[in-house]
Amino acid sequence: MTNLIDELRSGTILVADGAMGTMLMERGLKQGEPPELFNLTRTHILEEIARLYLDAGADIIQTNTFGASPLKLSSYSLGNRVEEINRNAVLAVRKVVEDHAYISGSCGPTGRFLKPYGDIESEEMYNAFEKQIDTLISSGVDIICIETMIDLREATLAIKAAKTISPSTPVIATMTFDHTPKGFYTIMGVSTEAAVKGLDKAGADIIGSNCGNGIENMIKIAQEYKNYSRLPLIIQSNAGIPAVKGDKAVYPETSEFMAEKAKELIRIGVAIIGGCCGTTPEHISAIRKVVDAFGKKTSSL
């Protein structure tokens, strides 16, 4: 398998996978249960989901480790099983994809705030990222994906941990923005411009946004990123903002709608397009078709 960065440099547009949480819920994830529990008890389901996204045409498959930080797992009394939880998630995906897709080790926020506004020191947070990322890398991920970040300081700690452990492993870093009357900001007040500059400076190889928005806002965010950045961009949009139908939460954006809008992301020059909450293998399959129809980007990065 070629190197991810080289592949992007040659102008190839890659497709990442879609949501994990909603897939797990359909397969028995109970309320109150951490999704990472599947990594201990039901890895065959992780394999099944990886297979669905691989068959849908994803080039990048994420591990079920979004909340597998020691800081988060300890709130479920799973703090002593961090390595097992992270390793099993990687091995399950590897078993399915072999070398037909890149495996991206998902690394979400710790759920804690740094001092002075929060209660945790940088060092403790860094150590938590280090432990999770070290396990992901030694278990064989091809990429580290630091995602759904709202605090640039936290994202920076995670990127630095990844780059210290393995300078050659590509790092994706994405932040989640709210649409305010004054523009796009994370809850912590990070603008798109500050995100681009901060993530670049911290050493991320690929930057972008995931979660929090449907694809129309994501097109705007991608455009803003493009104005500030020379790095390859990744966009993983939610399937819109959910509505309730009967006893279920339903995401409104169909695979056709998202695929049509993905053309706009390609036009802007986004290098990796995938999905977040509410997206399914159907969404990814539809995006795959749009990307294939377009071919390679003419202006390489």
């Binding site: 819920m25 309320q31 109150g32 002075p116 506004y117 912590m188 959910p242 309730v244 939460a249 509410g278």
Partner: protein, 221 residues
Amino acid sequence: MEILNEISRYLQHGDCEKVGSLTRQAVEKVPPRDILDNGLIAGMNVIGEKYKAHEIFLPDVLLAAKAMYAGMDVLRPLFLKEEMPTAGKVVIGTVRGDLHDIGKNLVGIMLRGAGFEVIDLGNDVPPEKFVETAQSENATVIGMSALLTTTMLVMKDVIEIVKEQGLSDRIRTIIGGAPVSAEFAHEIGADSYGYDSAHAVEQIRVLIREVNGRHGDREKR
């Protein structure tokens, strides 16, 4: 009074030490109630407004809240328990299965900042716990937050328990959180919906006024 303005100003800058020391100075000459209303709460109101207008973001609110607590710690012993002034009592929590609690914490901060008494049940709260606590603590409002589409329907369970137990006339429910909307609130029978933390505080004030008004009527009879 100048010292109260100073307290408000340092609170807005999130300066715990200054707010603590100024509050200690102020209690020598100003009634604690005035310090609370015109110093600490006044400062948090400004923070709430600025947050609502997107002039400031979460870190500034968290810092201001820490400063407010520094001032409250000085004042608390000066109020006898029953005299601690309160705008009303509210039980808040993030519903079962949801460990996202930024929004809920923010509502707690804003409520305390506005002079409400807040019982924060934390996150991953079972539906029965909300209602039991509201009853045992004699709280008027239950505020629920969900950030996941998978957990937002748990809020409906809480509302149904309130109704089943015949508590609707004295316990009001309000919901909030990223996947939640006014339509959803209406659909599940919640009494109110807060689209952000500042709006939630305004709505809770209205709910408490409604319930108090109703009880007032009954006492007259």
